[in-house]
Assembly symmetry: C2
Homo-oligomer: 267 residues x 2
Amino acid sequence: MRKLGTVHLVGAGPGDPDLLTLKAARLIETADAVAYDRLVSDAVMEMVPAGAEQVFVGKESGCHHCSQDRINTILLELARRHGTVVRLKGGDPFVFGRGGEEAEFLARHGVEVRVTPGITSAAACGAIAGVPLTHRGLATGVRFVTGHAKGDAPLDLNWKSLADPDTTLVVYMGLATLPRLSAHLIGHGLPSDTPVLAVQNGTTPRERRLLTTLGEAAVSLALARFRPPTLLIIGRVAALADAPELVAEAEAAAPDAAPPAVALAHA
Amino acid sequence: MRKLGTVHLVGAGPGDPDLLTLKAARLIETADAVAYDRLVSDAVMEMVPAGAEQVFVGKESGCHHCSQDRINTILLELARRHGTVVRLKGGDPFVFGRGGEEAEFLARHGVEVRVTPGITSAAACGAIAGVPLTHRGLATGVRFVTGHAKGDAPLDLNWKSLADPDTTLVVYMGLATLPRLSAHLIGHGLPSDTPVLAVQNGTTPRERRLLTTLGEAAVSLALARFRPPTLLIIGRVAALADAPELVAEAEAAAPDAAPPAVALAHA
């Protein structure tokens, strides 16, 4: 049997190719085949060599036409035909990227797997907005959860544990379930005036930001027409995004933003 | 008054310079001045241009000879004398890096501050050990806390919230307080057989790893002579570090490791 190639699970970071690691950039530029999904930015994909095989394995929101089983099979197939396969994942492969499942499947089939970390969206969005994820007196720690749920399925999270005012809560893919998410958190004791920073398409040319509160976030973000992918940073530290030297202007010029974001936030 | 320079708070990542972002590498290579602490690896510091001013602002464990106030003042002073000042921080500047305090201080003094994220130790250690921080059926989310406490001060953490078996708990700087940390977590309901992966000097040539359990971690790591900086990944996902394709060999050859780590882990 022919020797199988190596599959690299590579973090593509938040979108700006400048935030790839040196290692990730080198792997992308020398890949024989690249499998990618919709969270990998066009700017990153432009770095893939012309001769490399490119396979889109994206799951569209609400329409899972490319199941995880199918992705696993595609990766195994690529490893049979190529020496260096790069599986590009938005952000970090091991933070809500299901990289662990792909690694387990491939390893079980005798494929060598290597993991290259990436800048996860929480770190990128904190950096651009000037919001430290931990901060003396404001947040002793930070936690990441996903707001993703299938259809109307309940969000299966430990709300009592999550409603901790001393911890920054970062929610990935939480826009669709935000009304339920904020209701649960407030119901379990997190103050409704807890600051919330929303960042859509962070670090890309289409980036938008809005500072709101837990009680108002669902309505504010709906009115401001925020769309996935949007990251939510919930907690006292989010208020620091107001520091004028670090905070971005409201993205009034964003193509699908109706009124300026700041006007909404303080309406 | 002369125009002040720009201070870039730059994540130096876990140690391996290959895990710097492209942006961080460029900033380091073009800096006029670099302030760095002991968590920034020698390999990263070798990238600093020969002509750049280098200032060590490290806080040694247990001996805070360089206070945060002093660091702030040094950064301001550097911004008065240089155009591009790079403040290098191990990992990510906004995850237990006190970057928020430095940014606030500098902004208050009229200095332009930019933040470049870095690969935080949790992501790096997860990647090298093959441990996904989130994983279907094992962890719905991940949280980062610090075990650092001054002297015998109590660890001021919300233990009830932390003892959540469905969340991966990553502890930065937790070696010294591990006996108290594990006792609190077990006391609040986290099973004592919860897997714990310890990684010392992750991604550097002196990297060491040990897989143990919450109940045995304090003793196992003491016997194996683990030293700071050591990261702890606590939770069901840590058990995946056993997957032979991804897990590292026990670092029996490490200079200060007495018996092989694996023998200890299963003793």
